[in-house]
Every structure is written in structure tokens, then in C-alpha cells.
Symmetry: C2
Subunit: 296 residues, 2 copies
């Protein structure tokens, strides 16, 4: 039987480390602060934001939730960002994705001070990741996936890693992170995607397979080498009339079919999911540490 990678437990460990760092900062009179901006009334987005704010409260971080109607203009949103950039109490700024369609999300991300871009999506943080510069912020989901591997002692140096998906949110930063020279890196990384031919033969090369392509149960037993580690980033909503909500969440991996072949695998939910918020907290604390080192 494979080891089930317990994302909740590792997220708790990361949060415990966050608490220690926060205590150290508070002893210097500093409370790290995260601002979350949400535009519109998408229920899923609001659920994510609540969860982020709740985690801040749980850890003792200062949190600021800025909620605006979907009619908010690009200009108004950029004004909010400018105020948060200038706000000394705020170390991290994120705008919950997706914003309403009239908002230029790229321009909003570029407007965030890179030193407060704890989502790691600002071009300067993307470049730092590519350039092996540790002073930037790594996007929370790939950063969390790497942390799961590190915490479980899964060797990445020299390992064959296949990343399935080439988005800027997960796939590409994941690949750049795993090929970096450092702990949890030095892997031989392949990026597979919608244009990959004979996908199963490519994914079967993986010692570590990271699925982030957003297709429910795309990865079957045929896609996985015996003894591989499988990290499932997918969170897909599929119709299920047997549930109260009428749907359920499934990963990109057909867990029941794949798990028996693996040495380790993440479940959905309870795998990568909890890590994303934990790494957001870790990034916010890093920002606070760096900002107060710079000015003191």
C-alpha cells in the first residue's frame, strides 16, 4: 500500500513554524499583515478568501479583507493596490482570482509592489524563480507541492519529474522550482501538456508525477510507473447526484486506480489543497522579515 501524503498534517507543521516566526516578529513589535482584495460575489472566491482570513486569525497575523462590488473599475482597483503598497502594516497583497472580466488581471498583478507580491505572480518574482534568486516569492501551490516532497524525504535530486500542465499558476513555476539547484530541486524535469503525444509513455518516465492540468481523473494507472510518487494538484468539480450539493471535488488523478501502484500519493481533498494557504502564510511572514530587515 502506498504512503498517503497527508497535506493537512504537513500544512499544520508549516503553520506551527509560522507561529514561531510570528512570535519572534511580535517580540520586536512587528505583526505581519496580509491584505486580500476580492471583487464581485463569486461564491467559490468568497470561500477561498474566508479561508485565508481565518488562517491569518488562527496564526495571529493581521489580516485586511477588502471587498468591493463587481462594478469596481480597473482604476478604483489600482487605487486600492497603491494604498496597500504604501501601507506599512501590510506585508502581503493578493487579489483573489478570477476578477470580473472587465479587470485586466495582469495589469493588477504588475501594480502590486513585488516585495508584497506573496502570490508570486509579479513578473519580477517569476524572473527570480527562473534565475534561482531566493529573494523572491514562489507561487503558493507549487511551493506547497515541493514542501510535501521535502517533508516526506522524497529525493528530488536526479529524479525524473514530470509536470503535467504548463500554466503560470502551477505548471511552469513547478518545473522551474524542481530544476533549481537546491533542496527539493536538481530534478530532471519534463513539462507535458495538451499537445504532448502519447502522454502515458511520457508520464510513465516519472519518479515523481505532478498533475496540474485541470482534467478530472485524466491520470489513470496506465500513466504511472510502479513505485512513483504522485502529487495531484487538480481540484475539479464533477456532477454527483448522490451528494447534497449535487457535485463533488476530484483530482486530476484517478486515485483508486493509481494509488496501488504508487510509493506515495496525495489525496484530493487533503493533499495539496491545505498546503497552498500554509505557504501563503509562510510567504507573508518572509515578506515581513525581509521588509523589516531592510528598514531596520
Amino acid at each position: 500500500m502506498p504512503m498517503i501524503i497527508d497535506g493537512k498534517a504537513i500544512a499544520e507543521k508549516v503553520k506551527a513554524q509560522c507561529r514561531e516566526s510570528i512570535a519572534a516578529l511580535k517580540s520586536r513589535g512587528i505583526t505581519p499583515g496580509l491584505a486580500v482584495v476580492i471583487i464581485g460575489d463569486d461564491p467559490a472566491s468568497h470561500a477561498y478568501v474566508r479561508s485565508k482570513v481565518r488562517t491569518c486569525e488562527e496564526l495571529g497575523l493581521h489580516s485586511l479583507k477588502i471587498q468591493k462590488p463587481s462594478e469596481t473599475s480597473q482604476e478604483q482597483l489600482l487605487e486600492i493596490i497603491a494604498e496597500l503598497n504604501a501601507d506599512e502594516a501590510i506585508d502581503g497583497i493578493l487579489v483573489q482570482s478570477p476578477p470580473p472580466p472587465h479587470i485586466d488581471e495582469g495589469a493588477v498583478v504588475r501594480a502590486i509592489d513585488p516585495a508584497k507580491d506573496v502570490d508570486g505572480f509579479h513578473p519580477l518574482n517569476v524572473a527570480k524563480l527562473a534565475m534561482d534568486d531566493d529573494s523572491g516569492f514562489v507561487p503558493c501551490t507549487p511551493f506547497g507541492c515541493q514542501r510535501l516532497l521535502i517533508e516526506h524525504g522524497i529525493e528530488t535530486s536526479g529524479a525524473r519529474v514530470v509536470v503535467l500542465g504548463r500554466s503560470m499558476i502551477v505548471g511552469k513555476p513547478m518545473a522551474l522550482l524542481m530544476m533549481r539547484n537546491g533542496i527539493g530541486g536538481n530534478a530532471t524535469v519534463t513539462v507535458a501538456h495538451s499537445r504532448t503525444r502519447d502522454l502515458a509513455s511520457v508520464t510513465r518516465e516519472a519518479d515523481i508525477l505532478i498533475a496540474a492540468i485541470g482534467k478530472p481523473h485524466l491520470v489513470t494507472a496506465d500513466h504511472v510507473k510502479d513505485g512513483a510518487t504522485v502529487i495531484d494538484v487538480g481540484i475539479n468539480r464533477v456532477v454527483d447526484s448522490t451528494t447534497k450539493s449535487g457535485y463533488r471535488l476530484v483530482g486530476d488523478v484517478d486515485f483508486d486506480a493509481v494509488a496501488p501502484k504508487c510509493s506515495a500519493i496525495t489525496p484530493v481533498p487533503g493533499g495539496v489543497g491545505p498546503m497552498t494557504i500554509a505557504m501563503l502564510m509562510a510567504n507573508t511572514i518572509k515578506s515581513s522579515q525581509l521588509r523589516h530587515r531592510a528598514t531596520s
Copy 2:
């Protein structure tokens, strides 16, 4: 017998297209300009700079060579960059690498206006490459390698590409370029490097193998699948007492052993080398076109 990819001929084709673009710009009263800064007296660096200036003259680009002694301070160099950033006649700026050891090359690159960074090494251009944003500049050598493939009609979409080397000059931008959604992209890309285990088994997966690891003749027949395309970025100096200079230039690929297995291969010299300068010219013209679109 394999097709020998003639980098000189394709570079001439790129330069012919450059001439047309320059003529169109000149008819609007615009002459694209490239500034090359060289610090110190390294003979190889001076040879590269001469070659860049000569190509500018050949095509009718304005070129400005700024040559300073190796004692030049970081501050003085940054002043030169600031002047070139402000110089309306200059569309492209590059500082010949490597500068003397007391110069912080990263800081110098970051000081160049990203809109004039025709080497494509500024963090904002690195990020644009990662983010599939065509408005930036792609580093000349990987850009030239991709062009060789496009000009020879070698299909990249869905192809297995193995990039050997993970430098920011060639390996990583090459990988990002080949996985982009677009012409000459959409490949399934693997990045192999010094930590890769069983390298030959990884490189044998390649339909297109791009060697950029800087080790003379590392790639042997055993590393290459029958019918593969091999692009050799390496330019290594090896001792050879039979030559007048006492050395000769060899690639990362053992050409004589590998060529018989390939469908197409680049020689060294005469393969990738001539493309690098041609793409530098193309980038400078692109900069001029973008800058004069923006202000007119």
C-alpha cells in the same frame, strides 16, 4: 546521411529580412541603433564585439561601441547605461559578458531599460518569456536555435525536446521557448543537467536534442536516438597542437560519431554561432519598431 543545418545560410536569410525592415524604418527617417559596451581587454570578448559592430555596419544599423578600461567602476558603468537608456538614437544596449570580476553583472543588466535589453537577460524579459508575452526580447542564442528548427520545417509541436543544460543564457530560456504555445513551440520539453542520472537514456528520448552544457564532445552516438535532430550550442576550446593557434573549437556533440544517426544536425562552427548575432540584429530592429510605434 543527415541534413547538415547551415547556420550561416539561415543567418544570411535572417539578415536579409533585417535589411528589409531597416529599409522600411529608414523610409520613415529612423535608423535602429545598437550600443555595445565592453570593459577590459579580454581578446575573445573584443572579437565578439567587433563581429557585432561589423554586422551592424553590414546591415546599415547605427552602432556605438563604448570601450572602457578594466578599472572602470560599477558606478561609472551604471552612468554609461543611464546615458544609453536616455539616448533616443539607441534601441539596443548590451554589455559584453563577462565583465571584470568587480562588476556586479546582474545589477548592470537590471539597470538597462527593459525596452532596450536586446540580449533578453533583464528580469522583465525573462518573465515575459515565461509568461508567453511576445512583447519582450528572447535571448539571442536560444532564439536562434528555435529559428533554425523553424526554417528547416522541423516540427516541434508535440515533439520530445531535451535541452541539455539549465543556464539562464541558453538552457532555461530554450526550454521556456520550446514549451510556449506558438510556432516553433508546443514541444514536450525535458531539461537535463549535471545532476541528471543515466543521461544517455534521457537524451535518447529526444526527437530534438539541444546541447548547451559546455562540455566538449559530451554527446556521443549512445546519447542520440536514430533520426533525431541535434542542435549543438557548445563552443569549447580544446588543445590541438596541429593548429597554428594551438587550439580548436569543438561543440558539445561528437559530430563525427553522432551525425550518421541524425536526420539533421548543426556543425560547430557554422551552426548556432552565426544565428546569435543575426538574432541580436533582429531584436534591435524589433526594439526600434516597438519604440517608434509607441511614440508615433
